[in-house]
Symmetry: C2
Subunit: 505 residues, 2 copies
Amino acid sequence: MNDPGPTRLPLRRLGVDTYQEPVIYMHADCAVCRAEGFEAQSRIRIALGERAIIATLNVIRSEWLSPHEAALSEAAWSALAAHEGELATLSHPEPLESFSAVRAKIYGHPFSADALQAIIGDISTGRYSALETAAFITACAGRNMSLDESIALTRAMIDAGTRLQWPGHAIVVDKHCIGGLPGNRTTPIVVAIAAAFGLTMPKTSSRAITSPAGTADTMETLAPVDLDLGAMRRVVEHEGGCIVWGGAMALSPADDLLIRVERPLDFDSDGQLVASVLSKKVAAGSTHLIIDIPVGTTAKVRTSEAARALEVRLQTVAIAMGLTVRIVQTNGDQPVGRGIGPALEARDVLAVLQNDPAAPPDLREHALLLSGTLLETADAVGVGQGTLAAAKVLGSGAAWRKFLAICEAQGGFRMPPQATHRHEIAATQPGQVLAIDNRRLARAAKLAGAPSAPAAGIDLHVRLGDSIAAGQPLFTLQAGNRGELEYARAYLASAPLPVRVGAPS
Amino acid sequence: MNDPGPTRLPLRRLGVDTYQEPVIYMHADCAVCRAEGFEAQSRIRIALGERAIIATLNVIRSEWLSPHEAALSEAAWSALAAHEGELATLSHPEPLESFSAVRAKIYGHPFSADALQAIIGDISTGRYSALETAAFITACAGRNMSLDESIALTRAMIDAGTRLQWPGHAIVVDKHCIGGLPGNRTTPIVVAIAAAFGLTMPKTSSRAITSPAGTADTMETLAPVDLDLGAMRRVVEHEGGCIVWGGAMALSPADDLLIRVERPLDFDSDGQLVASVLSKKVAAGSTHLIIDIPVGTTAKVRTSEAARALEVRLQTVAIAMGLTVRIVQTNGDQPVGRGIGPALEARDVLAVLQNDPAAPPDLREHALLLSGTLLETADAVGVGQGTLAAAKVLGSGAAWRKFLAICEAQGGFRMPPQATHRHEIAATQPGQVLAIDNRRLARAAKLAGAPSAPAAGIDLHVRLGDSIAAGQPLFTLQAGNRGELEYARAYLASAPLPVRVGAPS
């Protein structure tokens, strides 16, 4: 037998951002590669003492890596908490047994609870490649998950992460909006009202998956959101509420890894949606939850029937998890507020909280409806008294003072940034605003750079039913650089405008 | 407005093998990145004059790439046929409109023929990322494709590639085996017999997708298989047949790109299977085709009912394509021949062709059955006379001489390599061979290095029903290095042996 060669190699940080996919780079002449039979796209276990990750191999056939070292992508480097030159042990990972359940699912066999526990456990410990994760997501997508599978998936996602406790707080409230209607940024307002009212609302929010902004993206233009668990707990104990990014909490680590693959694919599914939403709420220690489902032809949920199916699934899983949920269907025919994109939405939120007379009235009304429902669901006020109670807290300035205090406690309030590149789109003919396409507006805002460029997005100047003169501005594109502004303009020029103006029928 | 900055950068070959995924590397401080708003995992169009590809961005945050250049992975470099320092134009690709049909499919909406044309067109021109391809494959997998969708997918795959013509040959025969029973390497024998009989059989074969060897892998240990179209045509015009790798022919380029993603996922589907098989046959100019479907509990097709469903789909699509197909169900309860892995299977093929008395009788019989059926299907002999006619050609040495002539015409006959590392697995008790698990044998052969290491695999010493003494060798693991040999041994040690010996019930 030949000498097996070393299975240990010193690690080098390569500084390659592969967007969360852990990659290991080894030279084609590397003894470890040859001894172990590794080739491009092999999955390799990299261990540093007790810590280990699995990464995908890229084979180097040039001079910039020596055969006597292995280099890591940024995602691999930080997941392993490696140091320059540390000796890592490289080996074949155990076969990925849980993936056989994904293959069986594709052939129509439902997931067992055990299978989902195994899959989510493997995903949350980084054992699935991006391709395997994409196959799992696709197998769960559409309406391919039964209620039992949804319950099991939700439980598996909770079990894979941290679970927060709030000793001394019998009631912990939360809210969620399904389907990201552009501009529908009620969360910061609801948290401010609920906390000002004395409720406990430790809100963890996500960044955008397929939309131009998530609540965490918007909130980050107003205050730091990247708090660790201890810092979050201090904010909540002091102010009763917070609005932080949930990704740093490891509340449902599998969900964060699923999102990295869902995002470029730009699709999700009822089964995964419910598990994603409810696993994070249960893990965050919530007891009472309201869920906003905007319904409209260009919203994520297009019909009342679809909303109803989602409601059944949400309520069924919530009951299994011991969570009290109240669902509110709202009108999703057009964006809420005026801004679409992190900073532009933050501007609208501030206007409502500050009782600015020019604040978007629909955002204010929407936030009051949700806050009121939340107060009622948590038994903080009697049935039918919620909206009025919420309006009082907002109108008195108490909500605005609470919001500022929360921002300060999270690391300091700041004003949202402004875009450097703008382009106004005007009506080419007089008439009435007949339809607004949420999806095309969101897509244009994303092409303009949102949410990566926080100031980018769309400022919408009209609402359904408005009478418009020829040449009147409909909306303004905002971007952080000319390339993205031009890309959004090119997209808008390629099809009818997302705001349709014409003679009323 | 700021200066948009250059959108052209000189290209550098980085020598990174990412296994067919085109990747572009740009520095985080690169002006083009900033002007265009590119970030890690952005899809970028790279154009050199008329040639253009789409690649995935990895962002470099270290010194080894300057902000004034862009580097390409090997797959991107060769797809673009780039030269060092050439100035490439970088831009956002057009939105991938065809992917919306994949999303709709996941929600239960069938693919239209137009949608499949658009998807396959986009895949074959490299516009789908690996993740998007994985989602498409998963959406088509299992039994999620209707017969109409299969026909449309097959047609789309033919239209996306080259289509061979064989002027002067009214009948062009072909064969295919579905489900890769280990060791079932009849193709070289069938081609030799058919060509020796005077038929035209321009055989293009694939490399392994999920098995330890494809016909192209096995044939490559005997002669070059990587021929271009002109070279293949010369071989066929001269010898009547060939056995070459189909990937170089661009017969169904989308299929080759689908395989790069199917391979790590280790699954495929009836719809995709039928399209993959028949699109290559039609594109290769075949008129008459036999398909071998081994059926067994550990074969790919496990029951006669499953084989029948596949037959219906194959015949339906074949009729729509104007192809005459004859399907032969064979016994798939155990491997065929003795070797599993490219070189070991080649050794068995040679023994049959050379009429070696020690040649595996099952491989010989199986090859004669298929050759005979092919002669009958092509009307070269009367019904019921095929097997005898084939046996004559084989027994006379004409098939062996024809095979050698084909190998010489393809670039020269050579003997298959032998493995350097071996490990024998023996029976621990006396008894009868009661069951052989094809899947676990194939997996062990793959872990031992097949097909990347052509000499690696398994040499099987027993067959179902054999009486075995304690300590008698059951099979021998063969590998090219100790790491892979150990990995295969560890896998075998982790569960019951794939060859089950016990008292007959």
